[in-house]
């Protein structure tokens, strides 16, 4: 049966009464009037949704504007009965070959409001139902036409969009005049003025009253195959000239012609949004009966003005205070306007299904529906000279659908220093569809580089989310400051235990003297370095000194090298270990360095604390980064407080364990790695090997676009005998004669320092695969010659010479590595974490990160770190026995521009019995010191006190226990 208008109105009321929590009858602002003598007829809408009308976005679906199109109001009732019935029963819906789960229905009703106007034109429908004598019967409403004997207005020509045909269109073109008319006798009579009819005013009223309506579909019939339209309807769409639009009088009298140059503007993003949603309609309708609805611009049907979809979409362009409402028309397919069963039911099913699928897309978060730009402007503030800084533009997207956020144009500089350049690091990010509505953030990344201190610039970038119809121009500002300088104090242990064997035939002191100079040799020009020593008390070593040019630099590096060379062991009562004194003195030395941005302490010790100041006393006073090297085993050093101190300052602690003749540069490498921490550089590569006498070695490494300056370092016992060269990506071999490279040879170290790109014979050498080439300089050495020349040398075998190669880079591709333990006793769980980022903050998630752990039993498994998102990778292992666990963390992957990169870091985990003891502290409130003073100064007579029952020797023992002196005769 075809439903009468009374039944429609009654059914709306019944729906609202039956499902009061999810359905509401809304009486529209004006009743429809009739020239047929009928009373004004109220027109109702039905709102379906679990949320209040203003609490969720809404989709407005209107039916029955054209009276003779009998199917659409039937679709409205099907939709209402289906959604309400399925939601309440917890079921889905099935329409032929298309089904919707109960969850789909719940999502629609719970997430959005669906506003249905089942019969916009009730008097017209009643007239058509009662009087149509042919299939293509009455189309218009039944309102009186002023100054005319004709009745009715084509409601879908009565909206306020290019209403004035003569003004907007080329009325000489019959393709325009055919489909809308100012003649009241015509079926397409537009009315005397826009919104002359109460039925169209009701649509406007509903949109104005419910501003959270974001989507609109006007349901019509009929077409051959079924068609779905999106704006515009006045002319062909174009996306290149925003000024060519219906509001621009320059194009008046020219619209409506097919194939000419005058068109109507719609942005690519808006077009994409409409196409997306139109295809959701199609995807819902097509499978029901195996049809294929056609999606196209409404102009593709015919040009016209005053149509509902154009008006609804144009509203936000006319007034910025009105919401965007994406608008569509569906013309159902059928053989007639009034198809007989079963065609009638087939058409109802497929249109209802299309609309449900459309609503499901809306309820799932149509891209563009809920997007918010989180970055109103991009501020590159205080960019350091010589570095590439990056900043994100962030778009928050809420919903289920896939979305893309990308740079549409720019970034470009609009003012300021021409040295400053803006570029794109990550131009696009996409997210896939998800099952449940979720709020997610999408990032694009911009970079800023090239400025000198004091330079400023402004710029702009256009970003878009095409699925969301979102386009914005984001302003950019930038300023540059001088590159930061690093400052460090070497805090060196001179307690008595430094004279003991280090494990490789050298004393610990000698190992220190051999290793620490590398830190000074490789430190960047301009860095400030000082030195303090500690045993029982601190003692001065060298003042804060500016590092001069690479090489001897007697007034800079030479001073610190000299202080290291003259480092000796304390004697007598000064042999104890007060690490706190050393840290305190080092901190005091670096504190006045106003020109230094990064202040660090690099503490080396080989013994546990047994004299005040204890670290626990001074840790609260330290606000510098502290790196520590434990020269020995955990049992020897018991570095509980040292570990805690470094962890609290962004530094870290490394333990050498017992040194090994096969790894003579371990301490030197630790110093050099720590140097990268002090200067915020990166370790690209850190391998070691043996160079056979007479042989050669090739050590490859990869540089990338984020690497600005590079140190390629080789540690050997005999650097003067080794030829070190570099092979650039082009194959060109570079040596120390290259004018753009600095080559430096020191004691046990030689290295190249260069900035990228460097001039090559044919082109600039930059990112790509580089190689360190090692071979012998001059006459081939033998074991006999080397052992005679340097009897005490380590790192030499009978057939080869030990080398360690390191590549450091000042880079904007950074890996931060941290190792943490839940305790310091055997059985501890050790967590290894690395984070990779480029340009300070762009996370790199597509990388392979491993941790090779050398266990005390000699095994060295490689653990793969699992990606945790945001560039973070993690793994953990158990430290089952006492010992040092060196952990070599290596990462390799591709940069944002696709260049291969590697990063390395070495950390140590430790475990020993007693690792859970509290750190040494001073508890005596000074009375032990007083007692010691009394004893040493002989101010009191011990024998006399003994007769009084006071045993000074036992009291002194108590003091020793309190200060943990009993654990060793000296530090």
């Amino acid at each position: 049966m075809w439903t009468s208008v009374d039944e429609i109105e009654t059914a709306i009321g019944n729906f609202a009464a039956t499902y009061p929590s999810i359905a509401e009858q809304i009486t529209l602002h004006e009743p429809a009037v009739s020239a047929d003598g009928f009373s004004p007829r109220p027109v109702s809408a039905l709102r379906i949704g679990a949320n209040a009308a203003g609490a969720a976005d809404g989709a407005l679906l209107i039916f029955g504007q054209h009276a003779r199109e009998w199917v659409p109001p039937e679709v409205a009732l099907e939709l209402a009965a289906g959604l309400l019935g399925a939601y309440s029963a917890g079921t889905g819906l099935v329409y032929g070959g298309k089904s919707y789960s109960a969850a789909d229905i719940q999502r629609i009703v719970n997430n959005i409001n669906v506003f249905l106007i089942p019969c916009v034109n009730p008097h017209g429908r009643k007239f058509s139902l009662d009087h149509d004598t042919m299939d293509a019967g009455w189309r218009k409403n039944r309102n009186h036409i002023p100054s005319s004997t004709s009745i009715g207005v084509d409601l879908n020509r009565n909206y306020d969009f290019v209403f004035d045909q003569a003004k907007y269109f080329d009325v000489t073109d019959p393709d325009v005049t055919t489909y809308t008319s100012t003649d009241p006798a015509r079926e397409v009579f537009q009315g005397r003025s826009a919104f002359s009819e109460p039925e169209t005013r009701n649509i406007r009223w509903l949109l104005d009253t419910y501003p959270r309506i974001r989507w609109f579909v006007d349901i019509h019939g009929r077409t051959f195959a079924g068609e779905i339209y999106f704006p515009w309807g006045d002319d062909e769409n174009q996306g290149s000239n925003p000024a060519m639009n219906w509001r621009n009088p320059a194009f008046d009298h020219q619209r409506g012609r097919e194939g000419d140059t005058v068109r109507e503007y719609i942005s690519a993003a808006d077009l994409a949004t409409h196409q997306y949603l139109a295809n959701r309609l199609k995807a819902g309708a097509d499978p029901v009966n195996g049809q294929s609805y056609i999606v196209k611009q409404s102009f593709g049907l015919y040009p016209t003005g005053g149509a509902s979809d154009d008006y609804v979409w144009s509203r936000h362009l006319v007034s910025p205070y009105l919401p965007r409402v994406e608008a569509f028309v569906i013309e159902h397919r059928a053989s007639r306007f009034k198809p007989e069963s079963p065609e009638r039911e087939d058409v109802i099913r497929e249109v209802a299904s299309g609309l449900i699928n459309f609503c499901l897309a809306c309820a799932s978060g149509v891209p563009g529906l809920v997007v918010e730009l989180r970055t109103s402007s991009v501020v590159f503030n205080h960019c350091p000279e010589g570095r590439i800084s990056s900043r994100p533009v962030i778009l928050q997207v809420t919903g289920c659908e896939a979305a893309t956020f990308r740079v549409a144009s720019g970034p470009s500089r609009t003012g300021g220093s021409t040295r400053i350049g803006f570029a794109t690091a990550v131009a696009s990010q996409s997210i896939p569809a998800v099952a449940a509505p979720t709020t997610r953030e999408l990032f694009v990344w911009l970079t800023c580089s090239g400025g000198l201190s004091g330079d400023t610039a402004t710029g702009t970038v256009r970003v878009e989310c095409p699925e969301a119809g979102f386009v914005r121009d984001v302003p950019i500002t930038a300023d540059f400051v001088a590159a930061p300088r690093a400052g460090a104090v070497l805090v060196l242990d001179r307690s008595g235990s430094m004279e003991e064997d280090g494990g490789d035939g050298r004393t610990r002191l000698q190992v220190l003297r051999d290793s620490a100079p590398g830190f000074v040799d490789v430190a960047p020009q301009g860095a400030r370095i000082g030195l303090v020593r500690f045993a029982t008390d601190e003692s001065p070593g060298a003042p804060m000194t500016t590092m001069g040019p690479e090489g001897p630099d007697p007034g800079g590096r030479g001073i610190i090298r000299g202080a290291i060379a003259s480092h000796t062991v304390a004697t007598g009562d000064a042999q104890y270990t007060s690490i706190g004194d050393g840290v305190f003195a080092g901190s005091a030395l670096v504190a006045p360095e106003a020109s230094v941005a990064f202040k660090s302490l690099v503490v080396l010790t080989d013994g546990h604390e047994n004299r005040a100041r204890f670290l626990s006393e001074v840790s609260a006073l330290i606000n510098n980064r502290v790196f520590a090297i434990g020269l020995g085993t955990p049992e020897q050093i018991q570095p509980i407080a040292l570990q805690a101190l470094t962890n609290g300052t962004n530094g870290y602690m490394l333990m050498t364990g017992t040194l090994d003749a096969n790894d003579p540069f371990r301490l030197a490498k630790y110093y050099l790695q720590i140097l990268t921490g002090v200067t915020n550089d990166q370790v690209v590569l850190d391998p070691g090997g043996w160079l056979p006498f007479g042989g050669s070695e090739v050590i490859p490494f990869h540089l990338n676009e984020a690497d600005a300056a590079v140190d390629a370092i080789v540690l050997t016992a005999f650097p003067q005998l080794i030829r070190v060269r570099l092979r650039a990506p082009s194959g060109q071999v570079l040596d120390q004669s290259h004018p753009a490279m600095t080559f430096t040879r020191g004691n046990r170290i030689s290295y190249y320092r260069f900035a990228l790109p460097i001039p090559g014979a044919f082109s600039a050498e930059g990112p790509g695969r580089w190689e360190i080439l090692l071979d012998w300089r001059g006459r081939q050495p033998t074991w006999d010659r080397l052992s005679k020349a340097h009897r005490a040398a380590v790192g030499v075998s009978r057939k080869a010479l030990r080398y360690d190669a390191l590549v450091h880079a000042r880079s904007d591709l950074e890996m931060t590595a941290t190792v943490s333990q839940d305790r310091l006793t055997p059985g501890a769980t050790v967590s290894v974490r690395a984070r990779l980022s480029q340009y300070q903050s762009v996370p790199i998630n597509d990388a392979r990160v491993r941790a090779t752990v050398r266990f005390p039993d000699g095994s060295a498994p490689a653990l793969l770190l699992a990606a945790r998102g945001d560039g973070a990778f993690e793994t953990e292992f158990t430290a089952p026995v006492t010992g040092v666990y060196p952990i070599r963390i290596t990462a390799e992957g591709r940069t944002l521009r696709g260049f291969r990169f590697t990063r390395e870091a070495v950390r140590t985990a430790i475990a020993w019995q007693g690792g859970d003891a509290p750190p040494p502290t001073k508890h005596d409130d000074g009375w032990c010191a007083v007692l010691r003073c009394l004893l040493e100064s002989k101010a009191i007579d011990p024998e006399l006190l003994k007769r009084l029952g006071i045993h000074l020797d036992r009291m002194a023992k108590c003091c020793e226990d309190e200060e943990r002196i009993a654990r060793g005769p000296r530090g």
């Binding site: 049966m1 075809w2 199109e69 917890g90 789960s101």
Partner: protein, 101 residues
């Protein structure tokens, strides 16, 4: 009542051929053929039909009389209010659907 109207299938090279004529073709099947000609369903009055039939550039085919179909459709119009008792339309999409808990 207005004069009799006819539902016709028009085949024309250009819309100029029907310019100025009361041809109701809105929201009715229309397609552009590969040769650029237009095929469209329209409703016209008897007078307009005669004028169209006189044009050489327009081919007119009067579709089978739809009055019988319209009469059949009218017979299917509900003349009572089926929902006056508070009942609701039954959704086609719910037929055969089982509850999913």
């Amino acid at each position: 009542m207005a004069q009799q109207r006819f539902e016709v299938l028009l085949h024309l090279k250009s819309l100029k051929a029907i310019s100025g004529l009361a041809v109701d073709s809105a929201c009715m099947p229309r397609r552009k053929r590969a040769d650029g000609t237009i095929e469209m369903v329209a409703v016209v009055t008897g007078d307009t039909l005669k004028r169209l039939q006189r044009k050489r550039t327009v081919s007119v085919e009067v579709l089978a009389d739809t009055s019988a179909a319209a009469k059949a459709a009218a017979d299917q119009v509900s003349r009572t209010n089926r929902y006056a008792d508070g009942s609701l339309p039954v959704a086609l999409g719910l037929q055969g659907v089982r509850r999913v808990d």
